[in-house]
């Protein structure tokens, strides 16, 4: 419990130790602590940003999906309309073709009928002439009555 020069020795040691800590211990540790604090703060900020980005992206995805669905619907209805149009057109065309064909067939049939009529007329005329010839062979001179016969043929 006695006082002696140890006091001064301790006083000097005290300052040397404090100086050493100030010079070589405190600054690196505090620097590391501050840097880590900054890193953590940056990390948290980045996480926050990522979160908002994700929310934004999700919103965008929903929007895109909606738009895609809309355009698909649009496309389908357009295609259906187009299909209906095509079918209608085809039907009209077919009807036209049928009409044309029918007309042609009717014309052809008409012509054939005419031809047949004419042929028939010829044969009837011939038959009539032949019949008449047989009947009239004896009294009618074909040369004399040729004009008469031609007129008759014309009338048939």
């Amino acid at each position: 419990m006695n006082l002696n020069a140890t006091l001064f020795a301790q006083l000097i040691v005290f300052f040397i130790l404090a100086w050493f800590t100030m010079k070589f211990v405190w600054p690196p540790i505090v620097k590391a602590l501050d840097e880590r604090a900054k890193k953590i703060a940056d990390g948290l900020a980045a996480a926050d940003k990522a979160k908002t980005d994700l929310a934004l992206a999700e919103k965008k995805v929903v929007e895109e999906m909606r738009r895609a669905r809309e355009s698909a619907t649009e496309l389908r209805s357009g295609a259906e309309k187009q299909g209906a149009l095509l079918i209608d057109e085809a039907r009209v065309e077919a009807a036209r073709i049928i009409a044309v064909a029918r007309e042609a067939a009717e014309q052809e049939a008409g012509a054939a009928l005419q031809k047949a009529k004419e042929g028939l007329r010829d044969q009837v005329a011939n038959l009539a002439v032949a019949g008449a010839e047989r009947i009239l062979r004896r009294e009618i001179n074909p040369q004399v009555h040729a004009e008469l016969l031609a007129n008759l043929k014309q009338e048939l």
Partner: protein
């Protein structure tokens, strides 16, 4: 451990006195209360050795400190550094001063904690080794530097010098001298002597109580460990008293050691906090 049944065994009083005597430059107990020609070599040795160990570990932590994921050792040091830095920030408001004061507080805290922790070693362990090394079974050695008034007062005087330095640095020499005479009672000429006397008493009281508080706690703790050791020393004496006292040694020693963990930490913390408070006061003008 001293054994009570030896023929030349010391009495309890001798045992205690022997343990409380420093190994100093005179190689005998100091006679006068104050003798500036004497050095307590044991206190200086343990104080410096523990200081060097403290700084070595702190320096290792500092040189390996990264801002990445810290290891356990680094985290432990950082934990203490953060604690001290927070306290310093709350008490000393000058960032410039903190550059010195905060590291000082850190050093003081860990250094004093470890010096106090020497109390937890068995009271006879290091003295016995020392006596065996010297071949002198009466060699003196005290291993708890903070149980030496010179050590604690040396540190509190160091804090006083730092306070004076900051008083002058912050307030200017004139401003500080003015404060010495004008505070705390007021700037009236007839109050100057009273103010100055109060200031002197304040500085003296701060410094002495600062050193004495730590010394008293550690000295008392050391003394109690010695008294507990005396109980165990009765082992082998006749009757039931010996074994019972031995049991008392084990129980009381364990309890006191566990309680002492609190005391050594608390005292180191108090010394650090008061250092910060006193330096902080040096920054405030009345």
């Amino acid at each position: 451990m001293a054994t009570g049944h030896e023929a030349n065994a010391p009495t309890a009083g001798e045992y205690i006195v022997h343990h409380l005597t420093h190994f100093n430059t005179t190689h005998e107990a100091q006679k006068s209360i104050v003798d500036w020609s004497v050095l307590n070599l044991d206190s200086i040795f343990w104080s410096v050795a523990i200081g060097v160990i403290t700084l070595f570990f702190l320096w290792r932590a500092a040189s390996k400190a990264t801002s990445g994921v810290p290891g356990r050792f680094q985290a432990a040091v950082e934990f203490i550094v953060e604690m001290v830095a927070d306290q310093a920030k709350g008490i000393v408001h000058s960032a410039e001063s903190r550059k010195f004061v905060a590291p000082l507080a850190l050093t003081v805290f860990i250094w004093i904690f470890l010096m106090n922790a020497m109390d937890l070693l068995p009271v006879d362990l290091l003295p016995r080794i020392w006596q065996a090394m010297n071949g002198n079974e009466h060699a003196f050695l005290r291993v708890v530097p903070t149980a030496d008034l010179n050590i604690t007062l040396g540190m509190s005087v160091g804090v006083l010098l730092i306070c004076l330095y900051y008083n002058i640095k912050i307030k200017g020499l004139g401003g500080w001298v003015h404060e010495l005479f004008a505070a705390p009672f007021g700037d009236k000429w007839f109050l100057y002597p009273v103010n100055f006397l109060m200031q002197l008493i304040e500085f003296a009281a701060k410094t002495i109580s600062h050193g004495m508080r730590l010394f008293g706690n550690m000295y008392a703790g050391e003394l109690l460990f010695m008294l507990i050791a005396l109980m165990g020393a009765t082992w082998g004496s006749g009757g039931v008293a010996g074994p019972l006292l031995f049991l008392g040694h084990v129980v009381a020693g364990s309890l006191w050691a566990i309680f002492h963990i609190l005391i050594i930490t608390l005292q180191a913390f108090i010394f650090m906090m008061l250092t910060l408070v006193y330096v902080g006061q040096a920054h405030e003008s009345h």
